[in-house]
């Protein structure tokens, strides 16, 4: 049996899955001040009458990190940058930082040295600020870790007991400001997250649940709880990821679907392209910071069942704000929920109150209440369809740097519109009809998120960079580098090497059994020509275990 628990914004949903059957579901309201507690309440309700020895796996999806950052409850961090030549660091919206001399170039070559006294000076400054967490990030330090290592070492010895995070461990991909932001957030959340993870482990032990515990990440993959403390920021936005994985679990494989999660005030949209959830091109935006965190591309549209309906000078507007609950549910209305009730498209709320809500709209528009309700529903559908089309357009317009990428990218359209969330059932068929797609509201739509968490498999990424002229390779995330001797290494050789390194990384993270699922998602090779002959090759390989479902899950 598998357990999936998604601690969402308003409710915490939980399921027990056995093979391909949903055995039990549970819901408790989310208590933002005590996420652990509401998670445990859901767990207790779920396992009542169930033999805990039969539980094979527990997966949690939590808003912990999201909330911490949104509420500013993170720990203070000193950001130390080694930017080298290029952009003025002030042009990055990274907040206050200490800038060190020293520079590495794109080839990983040292082009300016670190200055030790300056680092010691930085340490005193950090000490004076009373900060005990430091993020050290250098431009191109993923190609040569030495500056970050050296600066980190000096800072650690000058600041005993402090936590030092190094940029190259966060991501091997290009983009210094994103790496800085991600490292900063890692340092700011690691301790509190570790405490949470410890609490979870203890609470489960008390309940005699000995199954391995995993946490869901923003890319729809799971990671063992005890290993996730290394990379807490990756657990951000696991809620939408859980829903998308749930849709994957509840629909046919290999299809192109739009996932529509209609809530009270927002509608979350996501795309599954030929069975693969679309990832945001460069990484997630967390508050005001752009990061390297791999996350599904989720678009939040400010419209939902509780959005306020207003009429201004004869023109109708739905949202973006909320003005209390729908009138038919005892609020102040009018809202789309009232409109759906009037049209008989849902049974939620009181019919008389809904009619009254639409009457107020009708008067201002000079029509009857049914017509007014229809206009409200049309406005909601219009907005969602517009945003879905925009998402497809943005995907088509993602930049490409090779001829074949530009020549082979064709426009695609949705086969299905899959609804999850409370507001979905009546609206999804309307959205689907407009997009010329099939409407699907899975049987377990309300707990799709918890199912997604329960049956998601691990994901893993590894970036291997090889420079055969220098005779070096490195995997920044692992902090490893070494020698290569073959100057004429082929992409095939590099991919084989990446596969081996990924298997080692998977073993270290306790997810070995999935290493064979790894795919090469990016591979490039460049001959370096100096003069008129080949001096060496630059090879980059990105290997990933992509988001997917456990083999035990036969789809419903």
């Amino acid at each position: 049996m598998l357990i999936g628990i998604d601690v969402g914004g308003t409710t915490t949903d939980a399921v027990v899955v056995d093979g391909n059957a949903v055995v039990k579901t549970a819901y408790v309201p989310t208590d933002h001040d005590n996420l652990l507690n509401c998670m445990l309440m859901a767990m207790d309700e779920l396992v009542r009458g169930i033999d805990t020895k039969k539980i094979e796996r527990v997966v949690l999806s939590t808003t912990l990190i999201t909330n911490m950052i949104a509420e500013g409850k993170t720990d203070p961090v000193a950001l130390v940058l080694i930017p080298g030549p290029g952009t003025n660091p002030k042009d990055y919206a990274l907040g206050e930082s200490i800038v060190l001399d020293g520079a590495i170039d794109f080839r990983g070559k040292e082009i300016d040295v670190l200055r030790e006294p300056q680092i010691k000076e930085a340490a005193s400054k950090i000490k004076a600020q009373g900060k005990s967490r430091v993020a050290v990030v250098g431009k191109f330090c993923q190609r040569n870790h030495s500056h970050e290592l050296k600066a980190g070492e000096i800072l650690a010895s000058a600041l005993p007991g402090s936590r030092i995070e190094l940029g190259h461990r966060v991501s091997g991909q290009l983009n210094f400001p994103r790496r800085a932001a991600t490292t900063l957030l890692t340092a700011a959340t690691k301790d509190r997250y570790a405490q949470f993870a410890g609490d979870v482990a203890r609470a489960l032990k008390e309940r005699r649940i000995s199954a391995p515990v995993y946490i869901l990440k923003a890319d729809g993959g799971t990671l063992p709880l005890d290993k996730s403390v290394e990379m807490p920021v990756e657990t951000i936005f696991s809620g939408p990821a859980a829903s998308i994985m749930g849709v994957m679990a509840l629909t046919e494989p290999s299809q192109t679907s739009v996932v529509v999660d209609i809530g009270g005030t927002t509608t979350d949209l996501a795309l599954i392209l030929s069975g693969k959830p679309l990832l945001s091109a460069k990484g997630a935006r967390v508050g005001s910071l752009l990061t390297h965190v791999r996350a599904f591309a989720v678009k939040s549209v400010a419209i939902g069942g509780d959005s306020a309906v207003t009429v201004n000078g004869g023109s109708l507007a739905v949202g973006p704000h909320r003005d209390g609950s729908p009138l038919c549910m005892g609020g102040r209305g009018p809202t789309p929920t009232d409109a759906l009730r009037v049209l008989g498209m849902s049974k939620i709320g009181d019919a008389v109150l809904a009619e009254r809500a639409m009457q107020t709209v009708a008067e201002k528009l000079g029509c009857n209440s049914k017509q007014a309700a229809q206009k409200v529903v049309d406005a909601v559908v219009d907005k969602i369809v517009l945003e879905v089309n925009e998402m497809f357009r943005e995907w088509e317009q993602e930049p490409a740097y090779r001829i074949w990428e530009i020549m082979s990218k064709e426009a695609i359209s949705a086969q299905n519109v899959v609804g999850v969330g409370g507001g979905a059932p009546p609206l999804v068929p309307l959205v689907a009809a407009r997009l010329g797609a099939a409407a699907i509201v899975p049987k377990y739509a309300p707990v799709a998120n918890a199912i997604g968490a329960a049956v998601a498999r691990p994901t893993l990424t590894l970036n291997l960079h090889i420079d055969t002229e220098k005779g070096e390779y490195n995997v920044a995330e692992e902090g490893i580098s070494g020698r290569v001797t073959d100057r004429k290494m082929t992409p095939d050789d590099a991919e084989k090497m990446a596969r081996r390194l990924l298997a080692e990384r998977a073993a270290r993270l306790g997810i070995s059994e999935y290493a064979s699922e790894a795919e090469v998602t990016y591979s490039e090779v460049f001959n370096m020509i100096r003069g008129w002959s080949t001096a060496g090759r630059l090879l980059d390989v990105r290997m990933e275990i992509p988001a997917g479902l456990l083999a035990s899950w036969g789809r419903c």
């Binding site: 290029g86 794109f106 080839r107 020549m407």
Partner: protein
Amino acid sequence: MSSKNKSGKTGLIFFPAFDWAISPTHPEREERLLYTRDQIFEEGLMDLPSIEEYKPRLAEKKDIARAHFCVPDVESQVTEAHLIAAGSTLTLADALEKGEIRNGFALVRPPGHHSMRVVHGNRGFCNINNMAIMVEYLRTKYGHKKIAVIDTDVHHGDGTQEIFWHDPDVLCISFHQDGHTLYPGSGFVNEMGGPQALARTLNIPLPPGTTDEGIHYVLDNLIMPVLDEFKPDLILNSAGQDNHYTDPLANMRVSANGYARLNEKLAPDLCVLEGGYAVETALPYVNTGIIQAMAGLDYSHVREPDFVPGRFVQSEEMKREIAHTVTQVQKIWEQRDELVEEALEGLGDFYRRKRRIFYDTDMINENQEEVVRLCPDCAGYMTINTSAQRGYGILNSAFCVTIPRGACSSCRDDAKEEYAEHLDDRRIGYVLMQDKDKDKFKFYNNMTRTEKGY
């Protein structure tokens, strides 16, 4: 007016064509923009709120035919890479005209500024002229009249110059390393444009070793004042980067900072990358600096690893030489109206010139005879008789006719007659018609007696 005062983003298209090369070890190879990619991606420039990245599109055949006579047709002369590079400039032109961006930079390859009006093959690493294609598009689609093209590549922008040679509304200014010392061996002060457009082509040959100081002297004392007087709708920069002090194919001493400052001063509406072959030591820094300058960001932190301010100093003699050239060109510009008047006085109804053009990359020798009608009512139609021999291979010949924008009815009729007269003339391979007024383009094959058009 130039849009330099508009607020908004800087549009950027980065198309490094990582799967295209002239040959594996050629300077114009896959690796050329690799380190530039690394640098600008690592800088996170595309994420900055002042920069918007666009995806390139493919130019249409018609877009190419508007600027070139491709012999025998467009598809034989261009590959997908060329269509994407040219299309990138059009995407940015559209974004600029729609007001989405305040300026834009097509950081794309393959380059184009050595491609002339007639295209038989690759010249100076260029098959089609991205800049000229963009200029013709901007004029046809958006009705711009006056455009200034400033060629800041180290090589003379001979292709662009040739395409707009007779056009008084397109001001072509090129500064470059002296043609006595560098390909393509042209771009001297006395190359000033056709009789109707004299001094609308300005060339500033500079001595090898010219530094930031030298090119900024040219900008401050010549180019900026000329632009102020010409008052173009748009300023465009053919932004080659091979004036850099590390470029392996040239001998100048300009720095990344010098290039960034140039773009800040010039404030071009659109930039198109041309050459620049110091792939590690110059391009990453120069491109970063240009993007920052265009986006109004601080570029003072961009510095080549081996650069120290004051590293390069011009000799007094070199300064005098540059000042002398600038004075000569200033005079040409000041006398522009008299020059045209005088030139036209001595000519009859037609202006003719014969030329030989060598295509270094493809080893093609071309012979041309160009005839322009000096029409009092319009720009006058033009014909070009061209034949080209590739090595000892086949001889390709064509007769080309251009009807200018706003052609008078007499020029239109005569041009059509010229076209018709040459059809089925077995001494000529192809007959091409470029009707810029109606934006229609025809290609006739005299051997198969078939016509096609865009």
